[in-house]
């Protein structure tokens, strides 16, 4: 079979490696778009007073920054990794549904265009926060409808992609590779796939209800017609909480691949890691109302959700212990993937601690809707998901391209990321505790110092990612040639094929002992 070239190749390819590349490039482009919005936000928040943007546009920026980063940057990046790595790791020639795979990807640019153009319709983009709460979302102009359509399209792409991934994992593992012999990255994607199929349709339902409340006379969330705005929050967060585990489970998988390689010993407690991941996925369905502690839930509900949330911290903690135990008594080296993996453990765990503190409903009531929460989810999603994506990129890029990336530049990327990331987001915990609400374009004077520090960090962190882009592009174009087994401690089927991995691999499945 001849590989096509040029635009036709990228438009019509059903090859998992090509589609993985498309997902990764798209996600990085959207990461920059969402990042520019973040910089605009931080530029406005650099000092008290309104300097750069009007309050209503500021709300559009915060909303779109959230929607783009969650749905168009992090999720597609994780799917990109799934596409590249899962067939290679299980010894399959391609995904279960190669043509659906192509379709899942090409839905994304359509959705992205809808989101970006929503800024230019009358009334501007949706300005409700990414959580889209009614009745505020009912008040919005046509930008909200565009966002709803975009979310529908993103949802279809995610669900089809998830079905593809789950079918691939269940049906196409090489003979001898039982479920309990799969790499942990594959396990975490299996669970993520189940979560996506279960909850993305619920989000679709919720935003459809908003759409019909807006235009077709329904009153799901309108008290005037007997509806209840709080019900939206229940339905949204029933999706929303599993969603954050969708964002982090594949990241856990990547870290679980990287650390054993650079510790040169097996992952500690493989079975336990599988069980912990399953527990996290299951319990994630039972904690949604911890996003709603200030709404006025009955006492019984406050207590139940507090207990369930405290409980879900346990399997997450177990995973951290297992990673440290993997490092323990290893023979460690700290190339860029390992730097980011260790960095991940450190900063993600900080996010985990603030999550435990937030689980305590009375404390949550004080800090809900403040910068404490913004700090918490940026520690888990940026230091968490994003750093894991960096670790995975440096880890597998040589396999994908055949070239080693520039290690020295990559170390600069790591250390500067750690410094600027913490400079941006650590002060937010103080701001939230001291009383600064979120989603405001201007703030009282006692918050000025930490806001200024955070904004400086944000610009540093943002501009730094151009260095990452440079490193990746250089590695694609050239660099030291690498062996099939790029890293001496690496184990797994992907390291048995040449680097760069040929366009078609495992056309005959290997036998796994």
């Amino acid at each position: 079979m001849q590989t096509q070239t040029g635009i036709r190749r990228w438009l019509t390819s059903t090859n998992h490696k090509d589609i993985g590349t498309l997902y990764l490039c798209f996600s990085f482009a959207m990461f920059i778009v969402g990042g520019v919005m973040a910089l605009a936000i931080r530029a406005e928040l650099f000092q008290p007073g309104l300097q750069l943007v009007r309050p209503e546009f500021f709300n559009e920026l915060t909303t779109m920054h959230g929607l783009i980063m969650v749905f168009a940057a992090i999720m597609p990046a994780m799917v990109g990794f799934a596409n590249w790595q899962i067939p290679l790791m299980i010894g399959a020639g391609d995904m279960a549904f190669p043509r659906l795979n192509n379709f899942s990807f090409w839905l994304l640019p359509v959705a992205a265009i809808l989101l970006v153009t929503s800024f230019f319709v009358p009334g501007g983009a949706a300005a409700t926060g990414w959580t889209l709460y009614p009745p505020l979302s009912t008040q919005m102009g046509p930008g909200m409808d565009l966002a709803i359509f975009a979310i529908h399209i993103l949802g279809v792409s995610s669900v089809i992609g998830a079905i593809n991934i789950v079918a691939t994992i269940l049906n196409l593992r090489a003979p001898g590779m039982t479920l309990m012999k799969m790499p942990l990255f594959v396990w975490t994607w299996l669970l993520t796939g189940y979560l996506l199929i279960a909850v993305m349709p619920v989000l679709a339902g919720a935003v459809t209800m908003v759409l019909t409340d807006r235009h077709f006379g329904t009153h799901f969330f309108n008290a005037a017609g007997g509806g209840d705005p709080v019900m939206f929050q229940h339905i949204f967060w029933f999706f929303g909480h599993p969603e954050v585990y969708i964002l982090i489970l594949p990241a856990f998988g990547i870290i679980s691949e990287v650390i054993p390689t650079f510790a040169r010993k097996p992952l500690f407690g493989y079975r336990s890691m599988v069980f912990a991941s399953c527990a996290i996925a299951l319990v994630s369905f039972c904690v949604w109302a911890h996003h709603m502690f200030a709404v006025g839930l009955p006492v019984g509900a406050q207590l139940f959700f507090m207990y369930a949330t405290l409980l879900v911290a346990v399997p997450t903690g177990v995973k951290v212990f297992n990673w440290v135990a993997t490092m323990w008594e290893g023979s460690l080296t700290f190339e860029a993937p390992m730097l980011f993996a260790v960095g991940f453990i450190f900063v993600f765990t900080v996010g985990g601690f603030t999550g435990v503190i937030l689980a305590l409903a009375p404390v949550d009531i004080q800090v809900q809707d403040t910068y404490y929460v913004v700090g918490h989810f940026h520690y888990t999603m940026v230091a968490g998901s994003l750093f894991a994506l960096f670790a995975g990129t440096y880890y597998w890029l040589p396999k994908w391209t055949g070239h080693m990336y520039d290690e020295k530049l990559a170390r600069w990327h790591f250390w500067l990321s750690m410094i600027f990331f913490n400079m941006t987001f650590f002060p937010m915990h103080f701001l939230g505790l001291a009383g600064m609400p979120r989603r405001i374009p201007d703030y009282p004077l006692q918050f000025a110092q930490f806001n200024m520090l955070s904004s400086i960090g944000a610009f540093g962190f943002g501009l730094l990612q151009l260095l990452f882009l440079y490193i990746v592009i250089r590695a694609i174009r050239g660099g030291a040639k690498v062996e099939p087994k790029v890293w001496d401690g690496a184990k797994g089927l992907e390291w048995t094929v040449p680097s760069p991995a040929p366009h078609h691999t495992f056309e005959t499945p290997p036998v796994v002992s």
Binding site: V299, A313, F346
Partner: protein, 376 residues
């Protein structure tokens, strides 16, 4: 110019230390109610536990990074796992979180217990201000941000309580259990005073209750805590706690004011004002209420807020102008009905001002008596 803006920015950042009047910038505000005390202590305990766990876990990790490196010749030990170890580090965290749940449960129950209040105040969230109704006392008023937009737009220097000051604070007695009933007029808002440990969403069409009891006299400031539109960051909460005798005096003053306002309204209804008097009063009303959207220069924001300067309504028939200011716009809900918030005098003055300022110069006068008639 840029250097000056930067040093102005730094100048705001540095005094931030002193301005917070003894409040730590790193932690929760000094608690001023029983519930706030409990929350503060709960946070301290939880944070301490997390720090201890962090030190242990990160300590192990950093030890390993230093001692178990290949570069110092350390060989990897190929162990796979250990069930006793897994069980231990699963059970211990479970015990820790169960331990944390006990004090937290007590506080959750205490926060929900609104029984036996000494007074009840209804709090209504509007876009973008609060309204307080003292149930049973016939006292009610609106409470709106009093920081001028000239400060927000960096044309005047910012006062100490920038964005945390209102025209009419919520006044309550010290040491009494105050029950609050929350609802909203339009979208979800959230009433929050950190020092008192109260945050409750205000939901249109529903009432929710909460409570507090203030320990010490003082002024306690908070902000709206649920995104409610463009001025979400500009609708603060100020609670002024007075010792009982002073509260009683304040209450009596409010009753007297009610009587006086009723008399003044009927007096104003008869008085005829000059154009200059109406314009000068109207300019102040405009700055406080209209400038946020229609801008200080009356030019509005294209595509969002129509201009007053040479605008069709401000230069069109008076009746339509009066109607839209009193009753709001059906087409564009962002233009609220002002008749409940502003007095006859305020309304007459601001409409007069709009028709004569910004180059409109129509020479129209609207008297408070006209507004009073138009209300019915």
């Amino acid at each position: 110019m840029r250097a000056r803006n930067f040093s102005a920015a730094v100048a705001y950042a540095l005094p931030g230390f002193a301005l917070a009047a003894g409040e730590s910038k790193y932690g929760l505000q000094t608690p001023q109610s029983i519930v706030a005390h409990q929350i503060y202590d709960l946070h301290t305990i939880a944070l301490a536990i997390c720090i201890v766990i962090g030190v242990v876990v990160f300590g192990a990790m950093f030890y390993s990074i230093v001692r178990h490196r290949r570069s110092v010749g350390h060989q990897a030990k190929q162990f796979h796992g250990s069930t006793p170890v897994e069980v231990t580090w699963t059970v211990i965290p479970v015990l820790i979180v169960v331990g944390m749940a006990f004090p937290a449960t007590r506080t959750v129950i205490a926060m929900k217990d609104t029984s036996g209040p000494d007074m009840t105040i209804k709090v209504t969230g509007y876009q973008w201000l609060w309204r307080y109704d003292y149930l049973g006392d016939d006292v009610s008023f609106y409470s709106q941000l009093s920081t001028g937009w000239s400060q927000i737009e960096n044309q005047a220097s910012k006062g100490q309580n920038y964005l945390l000051e209102v025209d009419h604070p919520l006044v309550v007695p010290v040491g009494k259990k105050v029950r609050l009933l929350f609802t909203a007029n339009d979208v979800i808002h959230s009433w929050w005073v950190p020092a008192l440990g109260v945050k409750q969403d205000a939901i249109p069409g529903f009432v929710r209750d909460s409570w507090f009891k203030v320990d010490t006299p003082g002024e306690y400031r908070g902000q709206c805590a649920e995104l409610c539109g463009k001025e979400h960051g500009f609708m603060p909460v100020v609670v002024q706690a007075l010792p009982e005798p002073q509260y009683a005096t304040w209450l009596a003053e409010q009753h007297a004011k009610n009587v006086a306002a009723a008399t003044a309204a009927s007096a104003a209804a008869e008085k005829i004002y000059t154009l200059a008097e109406l314009e000068s009063e109207g300019e102040k009303v405009y700055a406080r209420n209209c400038a946020a959207c229609h801008q200080a220069n009356g030019l509005g924001v294209p595509g969002a807020f129509p201009p007053i300067a040479h605008g069709p309504i401000a230069t069109g028939p008076i009746a339509a102008h009066v109607d839209i200011v009193l009753n709001g716009s059906k087409k564009n809900p962002a233009m609220a009905a002002w008749k409940n918030q502003l007095s006859d005098m305020d309304l007459a003055a601001v409409i007069t001002y709009q028709r004569n300022a910004f180059g409109n110069s129509l020479g129209d006068l609207i008297q408070p008596a006209q507004i009073a008639a138009d209300r019915h």
